[in-house]
Amino acid sequence: MDIQTVAQIINFLAAMVLLTAFGMLVQRRIYGLIHLFAWQGLFLSVSTAIVGYAAGRPHLYISSVLTLTLKVILLPYILNALIHKLKIRKEIETVVNVPLTMLIGIALVIFSYSLTAPVREMSTLVTRSILAIALATVMIGLLMMITRRHAVTQIIGFLAMENGLFFAATSATYGMPLVVELGVAIDILIAAFIFGIFFFHINTTFDSLDVEQMARLKEGE
């Protein structure tokens, strides 16, 4: 494959990652949300492998396999199992004001492009143009956590942010050193364990996973 083709494939995958991020921003059904998250992980994993091939960095293959097992298979499986066990309704919440959320999302993409402009200018890598998309994915994950009120949605937003960060590491520098990537993966696993416990706690204490009910701690009660 020549470098042009590789760049095009990578850019296409990056666009798909961004698209799934927007999809998650407006998805109302909880299973749909998990599916989208798994798809995002898959695009991420494939693009990492391609970058690894094109740049001749074998350690990116390890990262790619790690993403595949963790974010495409393991985490969606855990989330599905938890949802089944906690008997959460399929329609979880109505998203307030979809058009407005979308507009903010678009603004975030533009903001990311302007913010990462100096990095793009300096970089000589094939992947330089996708750093902005990675940052936008992080920002959209953040937006999702702010605008959505369900514990599961917030966690998926959190994991989507993590996806964006991983993407950023691949695109800016062909991945962080392996020690760091392994450490991050372990941290995500522990986090998954902890939010699993939390879903049970929240569900038994508040009778639902709606975070809106958690508003007792306020200033000057």
Partner: protein
């Protein structure tokens, strides 16, 4: 060798305690583990004191005057907190607030948290630093929700989500830093080492580093508890068990600030301006003001003192941002005395709230008559924390104020206003609690003397007379951060 002990003992103790569980001698194992860590910390400090900075484990670890003093502080406070929590947690168990599994969990996670903090401090790799910071968050999340009350779960969730988001920003900053460093230092682990980054900071691309610092500031600043990223802090501190409030306030905030200060040194070295320092000063002064005025409105005793932590972290951040030998010296001293005084206050607060079975300040009364040690302990703690002479916090705040008048005179009125408001607020709240008659519902109980007295004695001693070795230590650290 001491370095290895420092890291292995807490990890080993965590595993042992996970198996020992709720047995009678679990608190003693916890204390023994922490005491061994403290001895190793002292040994490491002596090593660095005599032989200068050192690299170990294939450059994976790095110890100099700056982080070794924080390591000793961390091991000391974790030891005294372990001693305090022996009585405290036993009583909580008797009252049925924690169950069998809760106790197992508490001890194991306490040690794991200590391990994560040491890894943060001693590692030479900023990627590993990030991982350890995340581990420190994760190990304390479930500790904050230990009581399983709705408010405790809410506080822990908030802590988990906000610090998770914050620290994700820090990872993005780290990626950008690595991107800039890789061009100069070559790829692979070498480009993430403090020692290499500091040496070649002049060659790193300034625009990228300025961008990276914004993300690092937001990320680690969330963990330091700086306004406007502080929302999780009062909740987590007020809802978790008191020993955890003591270590969160006294240690974890310091560690996050440590990470930020190291990053600042690299960024300022690259940009040759005062860019990073200015950002830190801004965050610092806003934190001081907002926290000082929030202090006035508090009703919950632990919540009030956690706002005081935000204020003091603001002061230290401001001073590090200001830079210069006097301010940096003041900030280093401030980190030390604040963490000692604040953890001591949380010990007395824990006893006081157990004696009254409430955290509501209106219901806590007559502490001096009921239990003089707790009453006077809180009184002196409050005097120390608001910066009355002759306590050590007066010295550090005085140094910082002097440097501010000299280098950033425009900031002086704001700093003074914050300090004055905090002074008035803390005194107005503490005075009725310690004075007055004993209310009928107050119950007397055994207290842990040693941790309180030891901490206050050191804070007082540092205020009266600065020992030579500590002075020299701080001067070396100031040299490093110049």
């Amino acid at each position: 060798m001491p370095l290895l002990i420092l890291l292995v003992v807490p990890l080993f103790a965590a595993v042992v305690l996970a198996f020992v569980g709720d047995r009678k001698y679990a608190p003693e194992i916890n204390i023994a583990g922490s005491a061994a860590t403290f001895l190793a910390g002292i040994a490491l400090a002596l090593d660095v004191y005599n032989n200068g900075p050192m690299l170990a484990g294939n450059k994976f670890f790095f110890v100099d005057a700056f982080n070794v003093y924080l390591a000793v502080l961390t091991s000391f406070v974790s030891m005294t907190t372990a001693i305090f929590s022996r009585r405290y947690m036993r009583r909580e168990r008797e009252h049925g607030r924690v169950g069998h599994w809760g106790m197992r969990f508490y001890h194991a996670m306490f040690q794991l948290f200590i391990f994560a903090m040491f890894l943060c401090l001693l590692t030479n790799n900023i990627g590993v630093l990030w991982i350890a910071m995340e581990l420190a968050t994760l190990s304390t999340v479930l500790l904050v929700s230990l009581y399983r009350t709705p408010t405790a779960i809410e506080a822990a969730w908030k802590y988990f989500i906000l610090c998770g988001v914050g620290i994700a920003q820090a990872l993005f900053g780290t990626v950008l830093l690595y991107f800039a460093a890789e061009k100069v230092l070559g790829e692979g682990g070498e480009a993430l080492l403090w020692t290499n980054l500091i040496q070649s900071s002049g060659k790193l691309e300034p625009t990228i580093l300025s961008l990276a610092f914004v993300f690092l500031m937001v990320g680690y600043g969330t963990k330091v508890g700086l306004v406007p990223l502080h929302n999780w802090l009062p909740d987590a501190h007020s809802e978790g068990p008191t020993p955890i409030s003591a270590v969160l306030s006294g240690l974890l905030l310091n560690i996050a600030l440590y990470a930020l200060v190291r990053c600042k040194a690299i960024v300022d070295g690259s940009t040759h301006t005062h860019y990073a320092g200015n950002i830190m000063m801004g965050f610092g002064i806003i934190s001081i003001l907002v926290a000082a005025f929030s202090l006035l409105r508090q009703k919950d005793i632990k919540r009030m003192f956690s706002y005081s932590s935000i204020e003091h972290m603001g002061i230290a951040t401001f001073a590090f941002g200001l830079g210069g030998p006097i301010a940096t010296y003041g900030a280093l001293l401030h980190m030390l005395v604040h963490s000692l005084a604040k953890s001591s206050i949380f010990f007395t607060v824990g006893h006081a709230s157990q004696m009254h079975r409430t955290q509501d300040m209106d219901k806590i009364k007559g502490l001096i008559r009921g239990k003089p040690l707790v009453g006077w302990g809180m009184m002196f703690g409050a005097m120390a924390i608001v910066g009355m002479p002759p306590f050590g916090i007066f010295t550090s705040e005085f140094l910082i104020l002097t440097a501010t008048i000299k280098d950033a005179p425009l900031m002086t009125p704001f700093l003074l206003l914050g300090l004055a408001v905090a002074f008035a607020a803390v005194f107005r709240k503490v005075q009725p609690m310690v004075a007055g008659e004993i209310p009928p519902y107050q119950k007397s109980m055994k207290v842990a003397h040693l941790p309180m007295l030891l901490h206050m004695a050191i804070v007082l001693a540092v205020g009266l007379y600065m020992p030579g070795f500590l002075n020299q230590w701080f001067h070396k650290a100031v040299q490093i951060l110049k």
